[in-house]
């Protein structure tokens, strides 16, 4: 259950996060991505092939109520989150690739998310408000476009927006932690361990599969680490927004459980992974000698 004020707040926070995402991009990035469609394809496969299938398998294997299963599926079908860019930055991955994968998966998501969601939901015999989800996704592409334009017109405004967006991404998780958890305390105690397994497993297994998928394609280690984080880190705020805006209030608590828990646990998972990746990166950087540069 989410009141109207919180709902508006959630919506505007997601909008600002998307604005920041757009501000981190230039049309040139799309041009470059199209010139190297290989990278783009990897992103789409990992985001809409691997992750939804993983979600499907988790929903199938774990004995969870239908509402929780819907939550797992929605979370699994989300595009990459902006937090993946922050973790990529700190793990010294390929930031440009991360940003690009995040944005292309968001753009492709308008078509792919409802499609895949519907497919797996049908397989699991679950009800999904398809049209509403498409509407939310399209509405959220608007701030992305505005962000891109802003960046083009005024790099300063773009950089400020990008900065605020990523700060807000972190703040969003804090917001969930302090508002949603206390309100749903009882629910969280009563729900089965399977819910937690799904929320944590989605991130941990996603990053692991993403990493092995990328290395099996012989990607540069830096890019492989980036793809790994990008695969495992989903757009939590978007999932929560979709649940809040498309499902009837009485179902929201249970459906939102996995997205909310995922959003919290992914921070811990990604932080640990970042430490490992950072160490792996130190040896491989292009060393610039001290001197005139």
């Amino acid at each position: 259950m989410v009141d109207e004020f919180t709902q508006t707040l959630l919506g505007s926070m997601v909008a600002v996060i998307m604005l920041g995402m757009g501000a981190s991009l230039t049309p040139r990035d799309f041009y470059l991505a199209l010139r190297r469609p290989y990278g783009l394809a990897i992103g789409v496969v990992s985001q809409y092939g691997i992750m939804p299938f993983l979600g499907f398998m988790l929903a199938l294997a774990l004995t969870v109520p239908e509402t929780i299963a819907v939550g797992i599926l929605i979370m699994a079908c989300m595009p990459g989150g902006t937090t993946s860019n922050i973790f990529t930055y700190f793990s010294k991955g390929n930031l440009a690739l991360s940003v690009l994968m995040t944005v292309t998966s968001t753009v492709f998501g308008v078509v792919l998310i409802p499609l895949i969601l519907l497919l797996y939901a049908a397989a699991l015999d679950l009800e999904i408000p398809r049209e509403d989800i498409i509407a939310v996704l399209i509405v959220l592409l608007v701030p992305v476009a505005i962000g891109m334009t802003l960046r083009k017109i005024n790099p300063n405004a773009g950089a400020v927006m990008e900065f605020l967006g990523s700060i807000l991404g972190a703040f969003f998780i804090l917001f969930i932690a302090v508002t949603w958890i206390p309100q749903n305390w009882q629910f969280l105690l009563n729900t089965t361990g399977a819910t937690y397994v799904a929320a944590i497993g989605l991130g941990v297994i996603g990053i692991t599969i993403g990493y092995f998928f990328a290395t099996s394609l012989k990607l540069h280690p830096r890019n492989a680490r980036t793809v790994a984080l990008e695969t495992g880190i989903q757009n939590g705020p978007l999932a929560i927004a979709i649940v809040v805006f498309t499902f009837p209030p009485e179902q929201q608590q249970a459906i939102m459980a996995v997205p909310a828990l995922y959003s919290l646990f992914i921070v811990i998972t990604s932080t640990l992974v970042t430490f490992v990746f950072r160490r792996a990166n130190t040896a491989a950087e292009q060393k610039l000698p001290d001197g005139l540069l």
Binding site: R36, A96, N156, V160, F163, P289, D290, G291, L292, L293
Partner: protein, 573 residues
């Protein structure tokens, strides 16, 4: 050295005057003011941070701000004409304001490397005796230690994001203070640069101060900059560069290379530090004169820091050193979308490897032209003319310059004979600050002896064969073995030390130290850590080797050349 024929003039373009004569500007302030006068609102300097945040000053703004700083220095700080002002900061909008302000005040600019340790700063301050210091806050924590015993009366603090719009400036400030903690509290009495400008403006308004009166009498022969260099012997010396040196050298370089440049239309990328003479004269002065927009990069490391600058601005010219061009060509984003509007690039500071020049041509479709010069020559002596590059050479002398090789006895050699390169022209320094004996060692009449051994092709292209002294060039920075050896010798665990340069793929040359242990427990890490405390990064030995003895001559002098031969033989294996 009268070279009646100057054979290289055949390679000058049709519009290049072999002799540029004298300049129409009497001094730098006049040049700065008159350029600003013609295109007041054109963009002069833009500082671009890694995330694309930026700030811009127009020609009129730089002119006005430097006026205000000049008035502050003279009226509030109480400086007199000829007083030295040290400027120590990375590339930022404050740099041109500070440098131009010092010139307009009739004072002498002392460029200081911001990465210097407190020890290194102290040496330079002791010699130059600056009356004021304008320093970026990131480096101000070194000031107390660097000025102990000889305080600098006026300290002006600025920051990298100075003059950026308020929001980006605030964000950068917060990030620097709380996130990377790169800005520490300033512990000396100081004034902030914007406050100094405000005070200067107040004086202009209320007391009707005429900035022109400070610099009216300055002529070409007057001192403008003390540019420190280890010279050829390793003792830090301030090369006295005059207003004439800098104005004419900038005009010489532009005369040869400016043919393809359009006034008020160029956008140049300055990733090299402005405190270095190459970027100072060529990027800052010459391109300001041309009316170009100068994109300043505070810190090009990692190289992804310059990505946004390439994306957001149509860069038409870039200067750099071999290391920079090589590293750019290795970046995927640069390979994918090389700058489309680039006309050509200029390389200096260190030898440009032909493989790097070739890569650059492949990636960008433009030439890198190599130039040559020294701090003592303001710096440009030779440059490759556009479309007439010749592999293995440093190009031909710029207009109004004579170059020849000289024998051990000081006699000029015939073309084709190998000897020490000597140069004569309006860009040769006035001498070393307070060191007439040192000046005498490098001057042969009006000819400056470079310390580099070279040879000239019959048609005037110059090749460098070797260096006369033991100096090591690490990615464009000179390292003098004496200085590093002195630091090593001061370590209690070191009995003896010798330092040489060895070939290095990344930086051209790297510093290698040979050490005889006094304390058997001494480790390589300890040696390097000790060096890092006392020396700037590029001077710290990359390689350290422990030896039982060092090769010595029969009078006990350490033979660096033997060590070098050994190292080269090892590298060849």
């Amino acid at each position: 050295m009268v070279q009646a024929d100057r054979p290289w003039q055949a390679f000058y373009g049709p519009d290049v005057r072999p002799d540029i004569g004298t300049s129409s500007y009497r001094n730098l302030p006049e040049l700065i003011g008159s350029v600003a006068e013609t295109h007041k609102s054109a963009k002069a300097f833009t500082c671009v941070l890694p995330n694309g945040m930026n700030g811009t000053l127009t020609f009129a703004q730089v002119d006005e701000m430097s006026d205000a700083l000049a008035v502050y220095l003279r009226e509030v700080a109480g400086l007199n004409a000829g007083d030295r002002v040290a400027v120590q900061m990375p590339n930022s909008l404050s740099f041109p304001v500070a440098a131009f302000g010092v010139f307009k005040a009739g004072c002498v600019l002392v460029n200081v490397n911001p990465l210097y340790t407190a020890d290194e700063m102290a040496k330079q301050f002791e010699d130059a005796e600056p009356h004021a210091l304008i320093i970026a806050d990131m480096f101000a924590d070194k000031v107390p230690a660097a000025t102990r015993g000889h305080p600098i009366p006026n300290v002006i603090i600025t920051r990298v994001a100075e003059f950026l719009p308020v929001l980006p400036r605030g964000i950068v400030g917060l990030v620097q203070k709380y996130w990377d903690r790169s800005v520490k509290p300033v512990e000396v009495a100081h004034v902030r640069l914007p406050d100094a400008l405000k005070a200067g403006r107040n004086h202009i308004r209320t007391d009707h101060v005429e900035v022109g009166s400070y610099h009216q009498a300055i002529t070409h022969d007057d001192l403008a900059v003390l540019q420190y260099t280890g010279g050829t012997t390793g003792v830090a010396k301030g090369a006295m560069l005059t207003h004439g040196n800098l104005i004419l050298n900038m005009e010489q370089a532009m005369e040869l290379l400016g043919g393809d440049m359009e006034k008020w239309a160029e956008v140049i990328l300055t990733a090299l530090p402005l405190y270095h003479i190459f970027a100072f004269t060529v990027n800052m002065l010459a391109f300001y004169w041309l009316g170009a927009r100068n994109i300043l990069i505070p810190n090009p490391r990692p190289l992804s820091n310059v990505k946004r600058a390439f994306e957001n601005y149509k860069i038409t010219w870039i200067s750099g050193v071999n290391t920079l061009f090589n590293a750019l060509c290795n970046e995927q984003w640069f390979q994918d979308s090389p700058p489309k509007h680039l006309k050509f690039a200029g390389a200096g500071g260190m030898a440009l490897q032909s493989s790097v020049a070739e890569r650059w041509r492949e990636v960008t479709g433009t030439e890198v032209l190599q130039g040559y010069g020294l701090t003592e020559t303001s710096p440009v002596v030779t440059f490759e003319p556009l479309g007439k590059t010749r592999e293995g050479t440093i190009g031909i002398p710029v207009p109004s310059t004579d170059v020849a090789c000289f024998g051990e006895d000081g006699a000029m050699l015939a073309t084709g004979e190998t000897g020490e390169i000597g140069a004569r022209g309006p860009q040769i320094m006035k001498g070393y600050w307070k060191k007439p004996e040192e000046t005498a060692k490098v001057m042969n009449g009006d000819i400056f002896l470079t310390g580099d051994i070279g040879v000239m092709d019959p048609d005037g292209y110059v090749r460098i064969v070797a260096r006369k002294k033991d100096m090591v060039v690490v990615s464009g920075f000179n390292v003098y073995p004496n200085e590093v050896e002195d630091v090593l010798a001061a370590h209690p665990g070191v009995a003896e030390a010798a330092v040489i340069g060895v070939p290095d793929d990344a930086s051209g040359e790297a510093v290698k130290a040979f050490i005889v242990k006094g304390d058997p427990g001494l480790s390589v890490d300890q040696v390097r850590a000790y060096c890092k405390e006392h020396l700037t990064g590029y001077k710290v030995p990359k390689q350290v080797e422990f030896r039982d003895t060092l090769p010595k001559s029969n009078v006990g002098k350490i033979l660096r050349k033997d060590l070098r031969a050994e190292a080269l033989a090892q590298a060849a294996e």
